[in-house]
């Protein structure tokens, strides 16, 4: 069936939630009007991940981020609280902070020396006699982002004052976040700076669609599989068989998961292998969790939290859209707290091997993103298919669950995207 008609109504019609042929229009990746609307209706109207609390442990620590293209500062004030502030002087609009991260007692606009505290309060103006005595300084602090909230260290900002709470937004994916944290017997992680950063000439959703895609691995990462075979970590056949196991999950609110089976057998899961290798780790895990929980924790998952966050076994990934065809991706590795140092050291070395701009796997993914970005300019057909496994998925416990190579998570992503873009 060739479907070539052009959608004419709303941007929501760029996603066809057809029960047999779920599909998306190619312009979701290329159209500047779509991108502008996304910044507004997706990024400025959802809980967007901005960092981990371990990045900002001390009073005066700050980092700057882009949320939907808008410059923000996330800062720890002397009251111990974190604040998300619009990075724009109230006077003439200059940014008050230009560094990626650092430590400062205040933010000063360099244009006319207006000075703001770490919570945004206006605490000084140069030559202030130019303003009347009754000038209400308290009304001219850096504007605070309406909502900033942490879930177990994961810090989310919401530029909209209304809409679902963070609890409501995360509810469908929360148990997977908890299992992800559970590999630490303290259920805590600590980010290790600096992050890997890469940027590609392609749309942000190409990265979002790929992190839980269980279909591409045997083709895009055949090279990686051959490296593993060289190092005797598994034959290409073994690895390709492993890649058939597990499932994909499309969750409500746009979240999604790629999952490999958990196991208490050291030969079948990383967690069980580490517990066998390091008795102190096994002891700490058993003190905290029962076997059924360890079974769940040991399942290896790539977890996507709509719209810009991935949780991987080695890193926290942030997707930063910069233009319809330009995206930055940041990979923050982290240490699992309360585990032997050698476990974390080997996790970081393993991460470095696959990821980053010179890793043995990630650059191959980036390569195909650029190929899609180029391909969708061809107009012979206008729709990309995301219907793989629609005939064999099942709906259970509020989740669409499919074969590990199927596309339920991608469909979940675009269902939420469609709702957002419709302005619902």
């Amino acid at each position: 069936m060739a479907i070539t008609e052009r959608p004419t109504q709303s941007l929501a019609d760029l996603v066809m939630d057809d029960p047999r042929e779920f599909r998306i229009h190619g312009t979701v990746y290329t159209d500047p009007a779509v991108f502008e609307t996304e910044m507004d209706r997706v990024f400025a109207a959802h809980w967007v991940y901005v960092g981990h609390t371990s990045e900002l442990p001390a009073t005066g620590d700050y980092k700057t981020v882009l949320v939907g293209g808008q410059p923000l500062i996330v800062s720890r004030h002397e009251d111990g609280q974190l604040y998300a502030l619009y990075n724009r002087c109230r006077h003439r609009g200059a940014v008050v902070c230009r560094q990626e991260r650092g430590h400062s007692n205040f933010f000063r606009c360099r244009y006319h020396n207006w000075v703001y505290a770490n919570n945004g309060d206006l605490i000084g103006m140069a030559q202030s006699t130019g303003y009347p005595d009754e000038f209400p300084r308290e009304e001219y602090g850096l504007v605070r982002v309406p909502r900033l909230q942490s879930y177990r260290g994961l810090l989310f900002a919401n530029l909209a004052g209304d809409g679902p709470s963070l609890e409501e937004h995360l509810a469908p994916v929360r148990r997977y976040i908890d299992y992800w944290l559970g590999r630490s017997p303290m259920e805590d992680v600590e980010v290790v700076l600096p992050p890997h950063r890469y940027e590609y000439p392609g749309n942000w959703k190409l990265q979002a669609e790929n992190g839980y895609d269980g279909y591409h691995g045997n083709y895009v990462h055949l090279s990686w599989q051959r490296v593993l075979q060289l190092s005797k970590e598994g034959t290409v056949d073994d690895i390709q068989q492993y890649r058939q196991a597990g499932c994909t999950r499309g969750l409500a609110n746009g979240h999604g998961v790629l999952e490999r089976p958990g196991s208490l057998n050291p030969n079948a899961s990383w967690t069980a292998r580490m517990m066998e290798r390091y008795p102190e780790y096994a002891q700490a895990m058993h003190a905290r969790f029962g076997d059924p929980e360890i079974m769940e924790i040991s399942a290896r998952r790539n977890i996507f939290v709509f719209p810009n966050l991935y949780l991987f076994d080695t890193h926290i990934r942030i997707i930063v859209p910069k233009a319809p065809d330009r995206t930055e991706v940041q990979l923050y590795v982290y240490n699992l707290q309360g585990v032997p140092e050698r476990i974390n050291e080997s996790r970081l070395r393993g991460h470095e091997r696959f990821y980053g701009p010179a890793g043995f796997g990630a650059p191959d993914d980036i390569e195909v993103f650029t190929e899609v970005q180029t391909g969708v300019h061809a107009q012979g057909h206008q729709w990309n298919l995301l219907n793989r496994g629609q005939h064999r998925e099942r709906f259970e416990g509020g989740e669409w669950i499919g074969h590990t190579t199927d596309e339920p998570p991608q469909r979940a992503l675009y269902r939420q995207w469609r709702r957002a873009m419709a302005g619902d």
């Binding site: 090279s223 991460h351 091997r353 980053g356 010179a358 191959d364 650029t370 180029t374």
Partner: protein
């Protein structure tokens, strides 16, 4: 003074030859320039003196071999089409040996890189430039130089990068 100059010329010739092996994608021969205990390091943080956390590249000898194996023997996407590179090596300085039989060398390099492609292909056909400061620990063995340590600090090491798999 005369012997130091000879040492510097020696090292400069060696670094230029190394750059040519990479430009000509003779990766196996390039790998053979490294000692068995060698490291190859491309940090993210330009200020950091020793590796901590992660790097763009932090290869021990085994991983360096994997890197070369990947480029030469496996179906990579990110180097297909392959990068063309021209490497300029300059500002070579050679310092006193920290250990017997070893030299420390510093250089500046500028790599111009491009992957050819058809019309309109995102990510291809666009030259990129990578300036870097390089540090080497070189060891004389059987009359020739070997690389015991190579560190490449890119000018924009902590900025986001598109693929750097061409060996910076």
């Amino acid at each position: 003074m005369a012997s130091e100059t000879a040492g510097r010329d020696d090292v400069e010739r060696f670094l230029i030859a190394e750059a040519r092996l990479l430009d000509e994608r003779r990766f196996d021969e390039w790998e053979a320039l490294f000692t068995d205990d060698a490291t190859y390091w491309v940090p993210i943080d330009p200020e950091r003196a020793s590796p901590g956390g992660i790097s763009i590249i932090h290869d021990d000898r085994a991983r360096l071999h994997e890197r070369v194996y990947r480029l030469t023997k496996t179906p990579v996407l990110d180097q297909n089409p392959a990068s063309r590179t021209i490497r300029l090596v300059s500002n070579v300085e050679v310092d006193a040996a920290p250990a017997p039989g070893e030299l420390t060398a510093r250089s500046a390099q500028l790599i111009t890189e491009m992957r050819p492609g058809g019309p309109g292909q995102a990510g291809l056909s666009a030259p990129r430039w990578f300036a870097a400061r390089c540090e080497y620990r070189l060891r004389r063995a059987n009359g020739s130089l070997k690389i015991a340590m190579k560190k490449v600090t890119l000018l924009n090491s902590d900025e986001p990068h598109y693929n750097l798999s061409f060996i910076p």
